[in-house]
């Protein structure tokens, strides 16, 4: 039963990492920028729910909805106000800008909301089911269901819709895309909005499970690991990488000790980077000159 319990705990944890990785990979594919403030965008969305609910007494579901919309607008603002204008600067400048955005959010939250954790309501009342000796919580069921639904929606969007095709095209060849009538700027803006909506959804799933403090965004490090395990260019890879990371961590926590699980997870990451640099589902990068 051990293995089944590890799967039951590891997969939901991994799905959360996978969601974070999805947002990071989306932005990276679409704009070449590695977004080091993504975790803080997640934290901010969670705080918005708390502020609306606790301080303004907005019903929980409405607060969630407003948080998703605000996060989308915030993503658009980041693009229009910061990374769009910076798009011709060296990549390192853009990456430092994302770091600054993240630190700004984190320290802003610490200043206005205090350093202490806030309670975050669970999306559904928490119950534990005993399935033939394997314990499964409702929170985990929600995480897995929502993650799979999001992955499926994204898959359909990119495979079958005209806009999905346009985004993929612009990611692969901005020049080729613009000559067939695709606005690369609109695509970049759309990617920021999409990734920011994902951040808000991830916040709703994570905040009840993790601790909602200004430092919750550090979870993004696990998102980066998941993205790298998956190859950093592939959306399904992000999810697969996340699940793998979740399973490794949970197994390490179970068989060795909880204290070592991060160490083992990062060890696996380093091994991956050395022996399989293209990741699980990544492709070897061949850039045209």
């Amino acid at each position: 039963m051990d293995i089944l319990q590890i799967v039951a705990n590891g997969v939901p944890a991994g799905m959360m990492y996978g969601l974070v990785a999805l947002g990071i990979v989306l932005i990276h594919n679409g704009t070449n920028v590695v977004h080091f403030g993504y975790g803080e965008q997640i934290t901010l969305s969670a705080y918005i729910v708390v502020v609306l609910q606790v301080i303004f007494h907005v019903p929980f579901w409405l607060a969630c909805l407003v948080s998703i919309v605000l996060s989308a607008l915030f993503g658009l603002a980041i693009y229009l106000g910061i990374l769009g204008p910076l798009r011709r600067t060296p990549l390192i400048v853009q990456i430092i800008a994302t770091l600054a955005i993240g630190l700004g959010i984190r320290e802003g939250l610490r200043a206005f909301m205090g350093p202490d954790p806030w309670p975050f309501p669970a999306i559904v009342a928490n119950k534990v089911y005993d399935v033939h000796g394997v314990f499964i919580t409702t929170a985990n069921i929600v995480v897995v269901t929502v993650s799979i639904a999001i992955a499926a929606l994204l898959f359909l969007f990119f495979r079958l819709s005209r806009y999905g095709h346009a985004i993929l095209a612009a990611c692969e060849s901005p020049r080729g895309a613009s000559i067939v009538g695709i606005s690369v700027k609109q695509v970049s803006a759309a990617i920021w909005v999409l990734a920011s909506v994902l951040a808000a959804v991830a916040a709703l799933l994570m905040a009840p499970v993790l601790t909602l403090s200004p430092d919750m965004g550090l979870i993004a490090i696990k998102g980066f690991c998941a993205a790298i395990l998956g190859g950093f260019v592939s959306l399904p890879g992000a999810i697969v990488g996340g699940v793998l990371l979740g399973l490794i961590e949970t197994a390490a926590g179970y068989y060795i000790s909880t204290a070592t699980k991060d160490m083992v997870a990062y060890g696996a990451l380093i091994a991956m980077v050395i022996f399989m640099p293209q990741g699980l589902l990544g492709k070897r990068q061949i850039k045209k000159v």
């Binding site: 359909l156 495979r159 079958l160 819709s161 005209r162 095709h165 346009a166 993929l168 095209a169 692969e172 060849s173 020049r175 080729g176 895309a177 613009s178 000559i179 067939v180 009538g181 695709i182 606005s183 690369v184 492709k283 061949i286 045209k288």
Partner: protein, 253 residues
Amino acid sequence: MSGLLSLCDVTVRFGGLVAVNNVSIDVQEGMIHSLIGPNGAGKTTIINTVTGVYAPTEGAIYFDGLPLAGVPPNQICRRGLTRTFQNTELFGEMTVADNVRVGMHSTAEYGIVSAILASRRCRATEAKISEKVAELLDIVNLTDQRGTAARALPLAKMRRLELARALAANPKMLLLDEPAAGLRASEIEEMNATLLMLRDKLKIAILLVDHVMPVVMGVSDRITVVNFGQKIAEGTPKDVQSNPAVIAAYLGH
């Protein structure tokens, strides 16, 4: 300015370098007009300027009677003008068929495609799109590769795929940047036949940049020769071949 595409005294400078110097070209409707000249003569820069990648430092460009100044690259194809690239700019991870499909992005038909709301009208549109994709792949002889990722194609096929993608937007005019470079003799024959078919059957005007003389001399109605950014000759293939300035430019005198 009497042609479908008119460049009027166009100059393009990059800092101190004059890449295109006071060049005027008129491409007439339904014609294949070639632009030739040694490497670095400014041919690609001319195409890039027409398609909005660069703005002309001086001069004006008209397409179909309207000025092109300030029209962003992604709006140009909506006017009926499209291009291929010297180093192909395909969507490498997408299939051959999807590359052509995306080429229809600017056309109205492609707009309603939505997998989730698969209404009857939607399916009808989808069928029409697939039909057009099949037709275009047939024209460029890539039907058998329709499911292959574009990056896996050999160069000659990438060139033809880029042509099909350009045709998907229903252009009035095509700008082709060295479509025959690196092709074998048999492939050059095919390219010639395709270009003539585009002109004669689809009535598409073509501005063709190429070094491959069998292509240029075989299909051109008119040829403009540039060297060091300047137009040095213009006329029929015969005129140009016997022009002393052209011979000098190619022999490097």
